[in-house]
């Protein structure tokens, strides 16, 4: 979870009142923060939410407190005048191709505010931007930027030069990666590219090299009265806009004038930052069911307004509007959580749970556990691999084409589908354990999802993967027989067939009846090309049996 340090005196000046020592511990509960410690004027806050970047600054915390105590009622809107600055975005290929930028004028930057700005920038790029891999942010002294037409493009790493922060001498982009501390830290994000992203002003002076470092000239922000240029570059327009919006709100809350900038992608133009309202309808009953009590409409509206929502009650529905920077709100339950925070978790009375039942395992779980014991009894070592995986691992490396249940909003390519086979996951396990002695004979009893004409089926597979010099089909078959015979399957039949993942002539389909229901499995020696795709050097034989209890 993110942790931030805030200046107590700075916070008190933003809130316009003093915080009592006796209230300090509970003071930040409405902001989902816990006080980790106090060191002089510094309050160390542990934010118990990794999805609320708007809270990762002193300004965000102050805003949330103001909402809670009624100083800000409902949804506070932010609007930004459009400036005449324009960003011309070049062909960025696939490197941080989305941009959001703004101009901030009349900023009075104090020591505290400067620390807060740097921390907020680091926190947003580090946590929300996943260590700058998804977005990075730069702030510049506007007065040192020439012209109003700025360029963001890919510059040649060997010829484009500038002096990075902390250096007087100009370096090529390639040299910056090699010699600058930030280049060494984040250089891997640009590995494999010949051209690197750069910002340039109208006179052709390089302002920065995202996501690595600013220039030592315009990229240096200092204490005092300032006009600033802020830019965010990243992998989606929504993400860069939210990051910019959060920073701009912080400036606006401190009385600065924020102006929007036009980002010109050639085919389309976007004005950033843009503040928008999102809408969600939730049934009142659903709210009552979740919070465990019924409350009046008036109270409900009050509770939601204290969390920054605009609220309307339409018959049995509660219609809420919330700002687009609340990226954590994805489902009604997120709004209900806010209602509970507003009520105060600490005020909920303890109640005995009236349950008259005993716990137990599902028959399916008992069955799977029994299969696991059987696997151990066969002398195999049990492992558990992840059910969410990538298409590349399940199909690409295995040299097959197949359908899989796909995740609508995957966080990364490595967890985009639910596995259809456990074998590829075992091969990856073996790759990671090549330093361990052989034989490595492992098994897993786990779920897979299969999509067919009838819909999606969840199945329990028993997969054994045997890896050592000299492993063969015969040994895999012997173990498969051990499992099947112990389960007393009937009508067992082996058929030779072709499968790209296996060596031709060393693979068979096994058909059998488990409790009278037709099932099938596969057994064979893994194709050396597949092993090569996984970077495995030791031969592998596997069997995978469908042992779903119907």
């Amino acid at each position: 979870m993110p942790k931030i340090d805030v200046s107590r005196s700075d916070l008190e000046s933003l809130l316009h009142y003093k915080i009592k020592d006796s209230e300090l511990e509970k003071f930040f509960l409405c902001t989902k923060c816990e006080v980790d410690g106090v060191d002089g004027d510094t309050i160390k806050l542990d934010i118990k939410d990794s999805n609320r970047p708007d809270l990762w600054s002193i300004e965000g915390v102050a805003r949330e407190i103001k909402k809670d105590n009624g100083e800000i009622k409902g949804l506070k809107e932010y609007s930004f005048e459009k400036s005449d600055y324009i960003v011309d975005v070049g062909d960025m290929k696939n490197i941080a191709k989305y941009v959001a930028a703004a101009v901030v004028k009349n900023v009075d930057i104090s020591d505290d505010f400067l620390i807060s700005l740097v921390n907020m920038q680091e926190k947003i790029a580090g946590s929300y931007g996943k260590k700058r891999s998804e977005l990075s942010m730069g702030m510049y002294d506007l007065n040192k930027i020439s012209g109003k037409k700025l360029k963001y493009f890919l510059g040649d790493k060997k010829t484009v030069k500038f002096a990075p922060l902390g250096f007087e001498k100009e370096m090529t982009l390639e040299e910056v990666l090699k010699n600058h501390k930030k280049g060494q830290e984040y250089g891997h994000l640009l590995a494999g590219f010949d051209k690197y992203p750069v910002w340039q002003d109208e006179k052709g002076k390089i302002m920065s090299m995202p996501p690595i470092v600013n220039s030592n000239d315009s990229g240096k922000v200092e204490v005092g009265k300032n006009d600033l240029f802020i830019e965010v570059t990243g992998i989606t327009q929504e993400k860069v806009n939210v990051a910019l919006l959060i920073v701009c709100m912080a400036f606006a809350d401190r009385g600065a004038k924020v102006e929007a900038i036009t980002v010109d992608y050639g085919k389309e133009k976007v004005v950033t930052p843009y503040f928008a309202k999102e809408k969600m309808e939730i049934s009142k009953q659903k709210i009552f069911d979740y919070i465990g009590m019924e409350i009046s409409e008036k109270d409900l509206i009050g509770l939601l307004e204290r969390k920054g929502y605009d609220v309307k009650i339409v018959k049995d529905k509660v219609v809420v509007e919330y700002p687009n920077y609340r990226v954590d709100i994805m489902h009604p339950v997120d709004v209900i959580e806010d209602i509970l925070i507003s009520i105060g978790y600490n005020t909920i009375k303890l109640e005995k749970v009236d349950v008259r039942s005993t716990g137990g395992l599902l028959d399916k779980t008992v069955w799977a556990d029994s299969l696991r014991l059987l696997g151990v009894g066969a002398g195999l070592q049990e492992i558990m691999t992840f059910t969410l995986t990538s298409k590349e691992k399940q199909f690409g490396k295995m040299k097959i084409k197949n359908k899989a249940v796909t995740i609508a909003n995957p966080m990364s390519e490595s967890i985009e589908i639910f596995r259809t086979s456990i074998v590829p996951e075992h091969l990856e396990f073996l790759v990671k354990n090549q330093h361990i002695s052989y034989p490595q004979n492992v098994f897993e009893v786990g779920k897979i999802l299969e999509e067919n004409d009838k819909g999606i089926l969840e199945k329990i597979f028993f997969t054994a993967t045997l890896c050592y010099e000299g492993v063969d089909y015969t040994y895999a078959k012997r173990l498969a027989e051990f499992v099947l015979n112990n389960l007393e399957v009937t009508d067992k039949k082996y058929t030779e067939f072709k499968h790209n993942s296996f060596i031709e002539g060393r693979v068979a389909k096994i058909e059998y009846k488990l409790n009278g229901k037709k099932k099938e499995g596969i057994i064979g020696e893994i194709n050396p090309e597949v092993l090569k795709n996984f970077n495995l050097e030791t031969p592998v034989a596997v069997f995978e049996l469908d042992l779903t209890p119907d």
């Binding site: 008992v366 069955w367 029994s370 696991r372 014991l373 059987l374 151990v376 009894g377 112990n486």
Partner: protein, 333 residues
Amino acid sequence: MYEQIREKIKGVKDSFVLITEKAKGIFDSSQIKDLKFIDSAALIDIKNDKKTFSVGAVDSGFFSDSFVGFDFCFVKISGSVFYYKNGKLEENKRFPKNPLAVFFTPDACLQKEEFERYVSITRIKQELLLARQIIETNDLDYFLLDGSLIPHPMDRLKKDSEIYKEYQELISSYLTLYVAAEKKKTRLIGCVEDSRSNFFTKKFGLEKFNDSIFLNAALNKKQGVNFFRAGEENKILDDLNAHKKVDLYVGYVKVNDYDLPLRIEMIDPCKEAIEVIYFLASHTKNYSYPSVIIDADLRAKLSPNEINTVKAYIEGISNIQGIKKLRRNRRPF
């Protein structure tokens, strides 16, 4: 509680002093002289000859458990043979090459105590079977058993026991082994790891202690008590004698300063056996047990992995067949 434990242990230590005094000169006492030692000498000073001989041994590892409706044990047996020439190990053989655990389950539904006896008898029967096979297929001077050369009194079952036939088979196994050893001129030696015998201490009014502790005070390193005939009144011997005349002889050997004398048994005794055991057990300063048995023991020992593998299999199959674990093994708390 800790005070009580400390006092008990202190008392044991104090009594060692008393035993040491009583043990002085016992080999000249009438109580000892009355015993019939083979060739009359009671105390033996062991010579450090570089011996040439062959010796074998067996040992076993086991695990037992109970499920609803059935009890089981699995037993792993291993045997070793060492060939010495002029005091140097020339060759060793192991039987079988890869010892495997064998599953046993009683036919009848047994009481807990009877099942414990079943496990003990089954294990020893398997040891005796492998011992006989090794003796019959090799020309050995000596063969060592881990424990007594006759059944343990605890394993002597009453005639109405559900598993009385197991005891009968055990008697038969011992007798068959004696015959096989006699035929191959291999001398059997039983090595009792932690003997509780109190034959000597009874004679000297120290019944609270066992002979090993008493003789530890009486013997110096490299000394032994010559073989003498064990007690006349022994029901186990009676059971054996009902089929074949068997006499059991007992001796002791003190191998080093830091371990108690080791009780050894023979049915065909010879003084050299004491020297052989001394030779085989004198490899470390503070542990006296024949190396050939240790070798067999190490290979017979069931590893936690072996136990878990078989247990997991039994549990898995029992689950699949709907057989539950005992209530005590599936407590939900």
